[in-house]
Amino acid sequence: MPRIVVASGKGGTGKTTIATSLALSLDSSRTLLIDCDVEAPNAHLFLQPRLERREEVGMLIPEVDAPRCTACGRCAEVCAYHAVVVIGKRVLVLPQLCHGCGSCAYNCPEQAIRERLDVMGVLEAGPTPSGVCFARGMMQVGEAMASPIIRQLKRWAGDGTSACRQAAQAGLHPDASSDGQPIVILDAPPGVSCPVVETLRGADFALLVTEPTPFGLHDLRLMVDVTRELHIPAGIVINRDGVGDGQVEAYCAAVDLPVLLRIPLERSIGEGIARGEPLVAIRPAYVASFQQLYACVESILMETER
């Protein structure tokens, strides 16, 4: 089951454009797209899914049973995030700082701490008119931590697919032929820190989208460092080709990263995407390009396995 993450250090390089058009170019009956940008998800705008499944998602946070609590301060002492503070005889929990590790509850000598689910967002999934299966997470406004939502989204999305489509289930069956294996495309958030790493964990391939500008190059370098640290093979998509300079191309050659696709800077493409149309709807000729790209990814994966 190839899991391909579409990522880029810099925002706005075209991750969602590439992820959605790649999904729309492959065998839709076995393709699942997971939008892991839970802070600013946009893939649904291009895929128009019917979100049939919905589940609240959150983190276990402590709740203090006041009569039992002796305000000994052990919970505050063990909390690595200063999310529990003792003020006089009262224990105050700061949910925004809590990472849900459970150490306070475990260490409380009076068993005065229980954990309850603090809702941070929702997970949603369903089919799209194209047949591609879709899942996303949506973090609530004002919440700080995207990673726990992404972690649970990735786990949940598998169930979401098999429930919404039999084909995926067949593909997950150990006896299924490799041709029928589900393809999972994960649209990553921008940046190079924890939410991106959470998206990349367990991925087979990273498709790094960049633009040929100094900002694009700077952030691509960081992204390449992350994929190398995680031992995930990577390939490059250069978007808005022709806009800046030749530095990105030179860098890719120097570090031996294959450029798998180039999309030129064209106003009509930009306008279509602005309207919310997938790239392959604006320029159907790109379907073949994305199929070729996927074939390259498959052969790189086969080589890596060997």
Partner: protein, 305 residues
């Protein structure tokens, strides 16, 4: 000067032009008055810091940033009982194969120490981890406080807070009236840290379906924290219908739209040249940015407005 004002540039969606706008403001603040309006410049996008690429900074200081701790297992004491693997809620410990100690995935480890408390053999300790660096630099437009989080690290919000604190101290020490903060994309932890204590948030959006969707998310976030907010549209002529939608949306939400910046490849040319676009060419983009800056400065109650 009574106190330091903070202007924070946000966008929700990445790549709408936050850094280009921030760099232009840095240039306009200094260049638009006889003695200039002195500002401390802050790059609060510690994941992918780009402001330095257009401000030609000269680095004066470099400091280490120690983020969270990471679990380290003492192989001598470990009996491979697997209790720690079960204790970890972040899937950072892989189940021991045969009798060997579990492997710690330092990238997944959140530094909570839950494993340390559960280990029956006291075989696990927490060790601090170098998570990045922060820098104090000087540029032609004022001091710049910026940082580089090591790729794949946690605690970007904590580093953003540190960078802002350092910038604030510098501003107080040397009586700068303004912190000009280039924020990260998204609406989560680093954005909340970047926006904390802002006197004004300027959202740079673009007239695309995705840009508009994320404008709503980031506006809700700034409202959640009760921060005064303005909006400007970048690449406004790329999709006029989208710009019209943003105008209507801003009216409905009663948030002031302070300008529309046209799409022009001169912005990329300036980036390649490594200078703010307003210092590169005096065309329609620069004219529009001047107007936006005048409105922003007025809202902040800064002199020369």
């Amino acid at each position: 000067m009574s106190r330091v004002k903070q202007l924070v540039i946000l966008s929700g969606k990445g790549g709408t032009g936050k850094t280009s706008v921030t760099a232009a403001f840095a240039h306009l603040a200094v260049g638009s008055q006889p003695n200039g309006l002195r500002a401390v410049l802050v790059d609060a996008d510690v994941d992918a810091a780009n402001l330095e690429l257009v401000l030609a900074p000269e680095r004066l200081e470099m400091h280490e940033f120690v983020g969270g701790d990471v679990a380290v297992i003492d192989a001598e004491r470990c009996t491979a009982c697997g209790v720690c693997v079960e204790a970890c809620r972040f899937e950072a410990l892989a189940a021991p194969a045969d009798d060997r100690p579990p492997q710690v995935d330092p990238v997944a480890c959140e530094g909570c120490a839950a494993c340390v408390y559960r280990c029956p053999n006291q075989a696990i300790s927490m060790q601090p981890q170098l998570a990045g660096h922060w820098f104090r630099s000087t540029t032609g437009y004022g001091p710049l406080i910026h940082a580089a989080l090591r790729p794949g690290q946690q605690n970007s919000g904590k580093l953003v807070t540190l960078v802002k604190q350092q910038a604030r101290l510098l501003a107080l020490d040397e009586s700068y009236p303004l912190l000009l903060v280039d924020g990260p994309p998204g609406i989560g932890c680093p954005v909340i840290s970047a926006a904390a204590g802002a006197d004004l948030v300027l959202i740079v959006t673009e007239p695309t379906t995705a840009g508009i969707h994320d404008l709503a998310r980031v506006l809700q976030t700034s409202r959640h924290f009760k921060l005064p907010t303005l909006v400007c549209v970048n690449k406004a002529d790329l999709y006029p219908a989208g710009t019209a939608t943003i105008k209507t949306y801003c009216q409905q939400e009663q948030v002031e739209l302070v300008g529309c910046i046209p799409f022009d490849t001169v912005v990329t040319q300036a980036m390649v040249a490594g200078v703010p676009v307003t210092a590169y060419a005096d065309g329609p983009v620069t004219q529009a940015l001047r107007q936006v800056w005048a409105r922003v400065k007025g809202s902040l109650g800064l002199p020369g407005a």
